[in-house]
Structure formats: C-alpha cells, structure tokens
C-alpha cells in the first residue's frame, strides 16, 4: 500500500503539583538536575539527554499497543543515521528521525526474489520504519508542542510517541501532561476552503405541550427530532456553508401555528476533506473553535525517499519554517512584542 505521509500536532502544558506555573527551565532544574544558572543551550541539552535516555528505557515500549520506538545506532542498518535526534537551542527544538514499529505478531520474513530465503520474525521483534518528530520545548514557558510525522493510519507511532513524550516531561512533582490536538490556523483555513460540505444536521427535542387524553405524553413526554440536509448534486465547498445555512435556517418544522424555524435547532455541520479521507463534524455555533485537520505532506514536501517516506531534510526544514512562521505567532504572541522604556 502506498504511503500517505502526514503530520500531526499536539500542544501540551507542564503540570506541576498545586497547579503552580513551571517552565521547561524549572523542569530541567528540578527533575534533570540542571544548574540554577543554566542558559537556554544548557536547558535544551539537559532535556535532549533526558529524551535520549528515555528512548532506551521501558517507556519506549508500549505493550498494550504492541509498538516500540528507539534510535537504531548501527550505521549499516539505519539509513537515516545522520538525521537522528538532535537539539537546536536557538529555536528551542529537539528533532530528528527515530525508528519505530509494531511487535508481538507472529510473522515471517520472505525474500520476494527468492522464496527459499525466508525466516520467522519472533514475537519479541519489532519491524521498524523511519519517523520524523520535532518537539518545541521553550525554557521560558510552560507550554510545548509536538509535531509527529506518520505514514498513514496504519503505519504510525503517533499515539505511542505522544504518550512517550508526555512521560518524558513528567516526574516527581510534575504530573503527566495532557496533550491536546492542534493545527496551525493556516491549515484550518485551508481545510475549510478545500473541504466539501457533506451535510447539515439539525437536532431538537420536542416536548408535548398540549393537554390531551391520548397524546404522545402517554408513551413519552419528549422525543428528539433529527433533520438532515445533504447536497444532492455537485460539491458545495466548506467556505460556502454559511450561505447554505442561512437559507436552511428559515425553514419551519412543526404544527400549524406552532412551527419552529430550524435556526432554533442545534445545527451540526459535517465536512469531508477533498480526498474523501476524513470527515469532521462541527457544532455550528462553535465551528470557529480550533480543530485539527490532518495535514498531508503530499505537495508540501516535494522529495520522497525510495520507500515512500518524505525526504527528512526537507521535512525538517518544512517543520522548522512552519514553527517559526505559523505556529509561534499563534502559540507565543508574547514573543512578538516588547516593552518600550
């Protein structure tokens, strides 16, 4: 199956006992033993070393998901050894290509050119792929960001790696952070423009409000109503949904003299991405609230490796640029302002 490389984003906030505000600098000092006078470079170095250490520990193996991650140190085996994990203190990032995959399945290994050349893969052996990640860990702040590359729904380590990173940034008085889905506003807007309107769903609960001897009340005093509106011919773009909604909301539902317009119903908007890969459902009133569409790398990273994975140097540059130009202005607006004396 051809790979569909994509990028997923997560935001997480360090959680300290009693909800005290603690930065990544505090974390490196209190948990990792960084000196009090540590500069940004030193803080990042401590975080990076801690990350590498944890990559070799038990938390890099997820028995329930049957996945593991690590960094293959044999240059002869790891084709992207030179792109392995490293840190950059100027951008406050830890990034690189790691290896990860599933284990615990009884599988065999066969040479497709020579069927005699086959062997058994034991339950304790993992079949690994290459995955790129980038973690933003600002020493002066308590909120970080994770970007994880995956190769599609099946070929990914996203839930496992996300959980691993949350464990990396926990310990003693630091509880495990709760990651939240995130996508830069530019991608959200892009998705809305290109997505196709699948349907509108109007929901309401109707309560029988007329005294009668044999009304609905005898069976149920309330019932829910669900009205669906789907475009039949042609595609309607997500950005045109507003116009469609304003037309539909005037339609009435109910008895003569007691009809309710659909604008009084709870409205849901269902969008589907242009490739038909995924559907997103929004409450109409909260549709401007952030949501995280999947960001496919096709067309964003031009070069592709032999195995279908994106070129990791280009992906690294893409992620760094994305962080600098799109994510940080959104996530850290305070970096863009300065006090004037």
């Amino acid at each position: 199956m051809a790979l569909k490389p994509r990028l997923e984003f997560f935001r997480f906030t360090l959680r300290y006992r009693d909800n005290k505000y603690k930065t990544f600098r505090d974390f490196s000092q209190e948990i990792l033993g960084a000196p009090k006078t540590a500069d940004d470079e030193k803080v990042l170095e401590f975080c990076f070393k801690h990350f590498l250490q944890q990559l070799k520990s038990g938390i890099a193996i997820d028995s329930s998901r049957k996945k593991r991650i690590g960094f293959e140190k044999k240059k002869s085996i790891n084709r992207h050894f030179d792109k392995g994990p490293r840190f950059d203190s100027s951008s406050h990032t830890i990034f690189g290509v790691i290896n990860g995959g599933s284990f615990g399945q009884d599988r065999t290994l066969t040479n497709i050119e020579d069927e005699e050349d086959s062997s058994r893969i034991g339950l304790n052996k993992a079949v690994n792929m290459y995955f790129f990640f980038l973690a933003y860990v600002p020493p002066d702040h308590d909120q970080g960001l994770l970007m994880i590359h995956s190769n599609g729904r099946d070929e990914n380590i996203v839930p496992m790696f996300r959980n691993f990173m949350m464990k990396v940034f926990s310990g003693k008085k630091f509880s495990k952070p709760d990651p939240e889905d995130f996508a830069p506003k530019a991608f959200q807007d892009e998705y809305k423009k290109s997505a196709v309107l699948k349907e509108f769903v109007f929901k309401n609960v109707v309560v029988d409000d007329i005294h009668s001897t044999d009304g609905i009340k005898q069976r149920s005093n309330a019932y829910s109503v669900r009205i669906e509106a789907k475009p039949l011919y042609g595609d309607v773009r997500g950005s045109e949904a507003e116009g469609v909604f304003s037309r539909l909301k005037g339609y009435l539902f109910g008895k003569d003299g007691d009809a309710k317009p659909l604008s009084e119903f709870n409205a849901q908007l269902v969008l589907e991405d242009e490739h038909g890969h995924s559907q997103k459902t929004f409450e109409w009133n909260a549709r401007e609230v952030d949501f995280a569409p999947v960001v496919y790398l096709d067309g964003r990273v031009e070069k592709v490796n032999e195995d279908g994975t994106p070129d990791f140097d280009e992906l690294r540059d893409f992620c760094q640029e994305l962080l600098k130009s799109e994510i940080l202005p959104e996530m850290r607006p305070d970096l863009d302002v300065a006090k004037v004396d």
Binding site: Q143, M331, R332, P333, D334, V337, A338, K339, V340
Partner: protein, 209 residues
C-alpha cells in the same frame, strides 16, 4: 534650587514624539503619515487660517478656547493620575503567566506609557496655547492689528522707533496666531487619539477578564 523644568519638558516632548510612532506591541511605525504628513498638513492649515484671520482672534473665540482648554487640562490631569492606577498593575506573578497574559501585560505596559506621555504632552501644549491666548486677552486692541494692511515706510527719521515697534508687535501677533492654530489642531488630534484608544483599551480589557 532651580526646578529642572526645561529638562522635564524636553523629556516629555521627546518621549511623546517617540510614543506617537510606536504601537502597543512596541513596534516602530515606519509610515510617514504621523511623522511628517500630518505635521505639514497642520502647518499649512495654520498658515491658511492666518491669512483668513486678518484681524486675529475675536474676544469671543479667545474666551471659548480658554474655557475649552482649561476643561481639557483638568480632565487630562485627572485621567493621567487615575490612568496609571487603573490601566496597569505590575505584579511579580506576571512572569509566570501564559503566553496571552504575557502579551496583554506587555501591551498594557506600552499603552500606559504611550497614554501617559501623549496626555502629558497634550496638557503642556494646552498650557502653552492658554499662555499665548492670554496675550490676546491682555492686549486686546494690539492683538487685533491687521498685519496685511501695514505698509513699508521708506524713510529713516527720529520717528523710526514707532514703526519698528509696530513691526515687532505685528510679528509677535502673527507668530502667536499661527502657533495657537497649530497647537489647537495638535491638541484636537491628540485628544481624539487619547479618547479613542482609551475606550478601546478599556473595553478590550473587560472582554479579556
């Protein structure tokens, strides 16, 4: 001990000019509008009005301006005193705030400084305008001299002192008229900025809480 008045006045003037071209994010406005165009436009309007106002300001206008400026000075001093307290509270917890709170804190800090300096400078300008207008009140007759009717007197005699004095008076009141109009335009512009930005700042602050 002498009061360091000139130093303070120069500081207020310099800082007000600096903060006029800085936004609340601390970014320098590279546009030429505020820096040159507006000042040139006010200068041109002042000169134009000077040619129209041949006999200077009427006593009614002087009285009207004096009362308006006095009210403005009073209001601005009150706003200045309460503004610092209400608009910005510096606490040690600010450095432990999230990104948005840090942003709002910096914006509030910059705005309060901008508000303070521009309001302060507007008060200073109003006081100067009042002082200049008081010349019209003190020397009512002389201030209404029509400078465009003066003719060059080409003879040097013992009576030359009188025409020279007349020329001096004419120059003084011509300058007074131009400067007063210029100051009134600046004060109006700055007052509009102060009121509009203050309303925006306060309503946004309420929405954030």
């Amino acid at each position: 001990m002498s009061l360091k008045l000139t130093k303070y006045l120069q500081l207020v003037r310099r800082k007000a000019a600096e903060f006029e071209s800085i936004d609340i994010n601390g970014k320098q406005d590279e546009g030429k509008f505020g820096k040159y165009v507006l000042k040139a436009a006010f200068g041109c309007i002042s000169l134009l009005l000077f040619f129209f106002l041949q006999t200077g300001f009427s006593p009614a206008f002087v009285a009207y301006c004096a009362s308006s400026l006095a009210i403005l000075v009073g209001l601005f001093i009150t706003a200045l005193v309460f503004g610092f307290d209400k608009f910005y509270q510096q606490t040690s917890e600010k450095e432990y705030a999230d990104a948005k709170s840090k942003l709002w804190d910096t914006q509030a800090y910059n705005y309060v400084k901008q508000f303070g300096y521009i309001t302060g400078y507007t008060i200073v300008q109003s006081i100067f305008a009042l002082l200049l207008l008081s010349l019209s009140a003190l020397f009512e007759k002389q201030s209404q001299i029509n400078v465009f009717e003066l003719r060059y007197f080409n003879s040097w005699s013992v009576e030359v002192f009188s025409p020279l004095l007349l020329l001096g008076v004419a120059c003084l009141f011509s300058a007074q008229r131009v400067v007063v109009i210029y100051l009134l335009l600046r004060i109006t512009y700055q007052t509009l900025f102060i009121v509009a930005s203050m309303v925006q700042f306060m309503t946004t602050k309420i929405s954030r809480n």
